[in-house]
C-alpha cells in the first residue's frame, strides 16, 4: 500500500503544529495572566497581582513578536515567566509560622527557582538533561492534579466549574505544553551531553575509528566496481569537476550511526581513487581525511581496502536482515 503521501501530509501537519506552538504558548500565557489577575484582584494585594502576572504578559508578547519562532526563546521565556510567578506566589508560604507550610514552601520555591534557572539555560541555547526538567515539571503537574482530586473529593458530588478549577486546568495545559516543547528535537539535542555525543559521532565516523563499519550489498559492489573503473553512471554525483574525473557517494554505517562515503577518481579514467568518510552527505564538508586506495579485495563478507600509506580499512557487507526494509522483500531475498 502506498501510504507515502499520507505520511508526508501527517508529518507536515506535525511540523506546522510544532512551528506554531510558540504562538499558542504566548497567547495562553497572556490570557492566563490576565484571567488570573482578574481573579486574584479580589483576594490579593495589587502589588502581588502585578508581580505575579506582569512577567508572563510581557514575555508572552515577546514570544508572539519573535519572527523566527525560536523554540529556545519560547521555552526559555516560558520557564522564566512561570518560574517567577511561582516564586512570587510561594515565598509567602515559606514565611508563615507553620512548620509544615514552611517546608512545603521551601520545596516549591526551590522548584520555582530551578525552573527559572532552566529558562535562563534555554535562552542561552544550552539545555539541561531533559529527564530532570520533565521530572521537575511533573512535580508541579502532580500538585495541580492533587488540587483537582481534593476539590472533587471535597465537593461531595456537586462539581461545578468555577474559576479555581479553570485556573488549575489551564495551568495543567501549560505545564504539559512545556513538556512537549522541551521534548522537541532542537531543545533535546542541546544538552552538553548531546553536543558531546554529536561531535564524538562525527569524529568516529569521519576518522573511521568506530566499531563494525559496514556497507550494504549494493554499496559494497559499487565500491569494488568503481575502483575497477566500472562506474555506474546513475550513481555519479561529481563529473569532470576540477581534478575529479568521477565521484560517487555511498551510505555506510558503524554499529549505530550512518554516514556517507565519498569516493573520487582523479585525473581521468585511469587516475587514483580516493576515499573520504563523512558524517553527513549534504551541506558543507570540512575536516575530512582522505586516503588513496591502492587495492580492493573481497573476502567472505568483508571488503578490504589497502591504502597508499600501507594501512588497511575493512568494511563488513551487511546482510539484508540488518536493515529495516520491507519484510516481504527481506524474506524473498533470504529465500
Amino acid at each position: 500500500m502506498q501510504d507515502g503521501r499520507i505520511r508526508g501530509k501527517y508529518k507536515g501537519i506535525l511540523d506546522m503544529l510544532m512551528s506554531n506552538i510558540s504562538y499558542a504558548m504566548g497567547v495562553i500565557m497572556i490570557f492566563y495572566a490576565l484571567f488570573s489577575a482578574a481573579v486574584d484582584m479580589k483576594s490579593k494585594d495589587m502589588v502581588d497581582v502585578v508581580l505575579i502576572n506582569i512577567v508572563p504578559i510581557v514575555f508572552g508578547i515577546l514570544i508572539i513578536m519573535d519572527r523566527h519562532r525560536s523554540l529556545f526563546f519560547t521555552v526559555g521565556l516560558y520557564a522564566v515567566a512561570i518560574g517567577f510567578s511561582r516564586f512570587v506566589q510561594y515565598v509567602p508560604l515559606v514565611l508563615t509560622k507553620e512548620p509544615f507550610s514552611t517546608i512545603i514552601g521551601l520545596v516549591l520555591v526551590y522548584m520555582a527557582v530551578n525552573l527559572m534557572y532552566h529558562g535562563v539555560r534555554f535562552l542561552r541555547g544550552n539545555s539541561r538533561a531533559i529527564t530532570w526538567v520533565i521530572v521537575g515539571t511533573m512535580f508541579f503537574i502532580l500538585l495541580e492534579v492533587a488540587l483537582i482530586v481534593a476539590y472533587v473529593v471535597g465537593s461531595e458530588g456537586e462539581i461545578t466549574l468555577n474559576a479555581d478549577i479553570a485556573d488549575i486546568i489551564v495551568k495543567l495545559f501549560m505545564l504539559l505544553t512545556y513538556i512537549a516543547l522541551v521534548s522537541s528535537a532542537p531543545v533535546r539535542k542541546s544538552t552538553n551531553l548531546e553536543r558531546l555525543n554529536s561531535e564524538l559521532i562525527a569524529f568516529r565516523l569521519n576518522t573511521g575509528t568506530g566499531f563494525d563499519f559496514s556497507l550494504d550489498t549494493d554499496s559494497a559492489k559499487a565500491l569494488a566496481d568503481f575502483f575497477r573503473g566500472d562506474v555506474d553512471e546513475s550513481r555519479v554525483t561529481v563529473r569532470d569537476q576540477g581534478p575529479v574525473y568521477r565521484g560517487i557517494t555511498l551510505p555506510f554505517r558503524d554499529k549505530y550511526e550512518s554516514g556517507t562515503l565519498f569516493l573520487q577518481r582523479w585525473e581521468g579514467p585511469e587516475g587514483p581513487v580516493y576515499l573520504s568518510l563523512c558524517e553527513h552527505e549534504e551541506g558543507s564538508v570540512l575536516g575530512i581525511d582522505t586516503r588513496r586506495i591502492e587495492e580492493v579485495t573481497e573476502s567472505g563478507n568483508l571488503v578490504i581496502l589497502r591504502y597508499s600509506d600501507s594501512k588497511t580499512g575493512i568494511f563488513r557487507v551487511r546482510g539484508l536482515k540488518e536493515d529495516d526494509r520491507p519484510l516481504f522483500t527481506d524474506s524473498e531475498g533470504a529465500a
Partner: protein, 340 residues
C-alpha cells in the same frame, strides 16, 4: 589589591577577625575566659600564624593552612554543640562534627599535593553555609528565644570565615576544572575541527573575490568570514604568493596553538551551491555559497533585532579577545573582504 599575595593576605586577616569575633560572641554567654571560648580562639590564633607563615608559599599552602585550622575549629565547636541540650544546636553540632574532620583530611591532602581536594574543601564550606542559612531561617521562624543579635552575629562570623575559604579556593591559580567544564572544553576543542558542521558558508561576492585572485597574475590575499549557525565564525585566508596559493582557516575569538587548516590549493571550483577547494593527494573540502547572510532561526528576532544570548555565555576574557580580534569587521560579510 588584585595580586595573589594581597588576596591571600586579606583572606588570612578575615579568618583571624572572624575567629576573634566568634571568641567575643561565644564569651558573651560563657565568659571570655571560659574553656569553650578560649580553646577555639587558640586554634584560630595558631591558624592565623600558620597561614601568615604559609604566605611565603603559594595559594595552595595558604588555603590548606586556613582550611586545616578551620576544620579543627569546627571540630571543637561541633563537640561543644553536641553536648548542648538544644535540638537545633545538637543537629548543627553533629553536621559540623562530620564536616570538620573531613576538612582536616582534605586540607592536609591538598597540602601534600592532591590538588583536587580544593573542590572538596569548597563543597564542605558550602554545605556548612547552607546549614547556617537553614538554621537562621528555621530559628527565626520557630524558635521563640531566637533572634538576639548575638546569635545572628555568631553565625554571620562563621559564614564570613567559610566564604573566605570558598573565595580563596576559586582563585584561578589553584582552581580545578569540574568534569562538566572539562567535557565542555574538550567538546569545543573537538568541534573546532568542524566534523559535524554542515551549514558553513561564505557569500557569493566572497567566492568571486577568491576566483578573481586565483585567475589574477598578481600576488594577493583574500580574507573572508566563514559563517555558520552551528559553530563560531571562522576566518578563511587565501594567500597567493609566487604563483602558490595557500588557504588557512582560523578560529575567531579564541586562542589556539595552530590554525585549523593550512592547505596548498590546487584548484577551486564554485558552482551554484558549493565552493569546493581541491588540494594535492585527493584532499578536498567544500563550503556552501549563499547570496546573503542566512538567518539563524534558533535565535529570536524581535522588531528586526536578533537576540543572541549565546554571546553573554562567553567569559569576560574571551569576550574581550573576540572584540579585539573582530574589531572593524562587518558581521554581514560585506566589509571584511579585501584583496591586495
Amino acid at each position: 589589591m588584585t595580586s595573589r599575595f594581597s588576596k591571600a593576605l586579606v583572606s588570612v586577616v578575615l579568618i583571624f577577625l572572624g575567629g576573634y569575633g566568634l571568641y567575643l560572641l561565644d564569651g558573651h554567654t560563657g565568659g571570655l575566659l571560659s574553656v569553650e571560648a578560649l580553646v577555639p580562639l587558640a586554634v584560630v590564633i595558631i591558624g592565623f600564624v600558620s597561614s601568615l607563615y604559609s604566605l611565603r608559599g603559594g595559594m595552595r599552602d595558604v588555603l590548606s593552612s586556613e582550611a586545616f585550622f578551620l576544620g579543627v575549629y569546627l571540630l571543637i565547636r561541633g563537640l561543644i554543640s553536641v553536648f548542648n541540650m538544644d535540638l537545633i544546636a545538637f543537629i548543627d553540632g553533629l553536621v559540623i562534627l562530620l564536616v570538620g574532620p573531613l576538612m582536616i583530611v582534605f586540607a592536609s591532602s591538598l597540602w601534600a599535593g592532591y590538588d583536587h581536594n580544593n573542590i572538596r574543601i569548597r563543597y564542605s564550606c558550602l554545605a556548612i553555609l547552607a546549614l547556617i542559612f537553614i538554621q537562621i531561617l528555621l530559628g527565626s521562624l520557630f524558635a521563640e528565644d531566637f533572634g538576639t543579635i548575638y546569635d545572628l552575629m555568631s553565625d554571620c562570623m562563621l559564614a564570613v570565615m567559610l566564604l573566605t575559604i570558598v573565595v580563596m579556593s576559586m582563585d584561578r591559580s589553584i582552581s580545578q576544572e569540574s568534569l562538566t567544564q572539562s567535557i565542555r572544553e574538550s567538546t569545543e576543542s573537538l568541534a573546532v575541527h568542524m566534523f559535524s558542521v554542515d551549514d558553513a558558508y561564505i557569500l557569493r561576492n566572497g567566492s568571486q573575490q577568491i576566483l578573481d585572485l586565483m585567475d589574477s597574475e598578481k600576488d594577493g590575499q583574500v580574507r573572508l568570514n566563514i559563517l555558520s549557525s552551528q559553530m563560531r565564525d571562522r576566518i578563511l585566508l587565501l594567500t597567493k604568493q609566487d604563483g602558490q596559493v595557500r588557504m588557512d582557516i582560523h578560529v575567531t575569538g579564541y586562542v589556539h596553538a595552530n590554525p585549523l587548516y593550512t592547505r596548498d590549493v590546487r584548484q577551486i571550483v564554485v558552482d551554484d551551491r558549493y565552493m569546493t577547494v581541491y588540494s594535492e593527494d585527493g584532499r578536498w573540502f567544500r563550503l556552501l555559497v549563499f547570496e546573503n547572510v542566512q538567518e539563524d532561526f534558533s535565535k529570536a528576532k524581535i522588531l528586526g533585532h536578533v537576540i543572541d544570548f549565546h554571546s553573554y555565555r562567553r567569559s569576560y576574557h574571551q569576550f574581550r579577545l573576540l572584540k579585539k580580534n573582530t574589531r572593524g569587521q562587518d558581521r554581514t560579510g560585506e566589509g571584511e573582504q579585501r584583496s591586495a
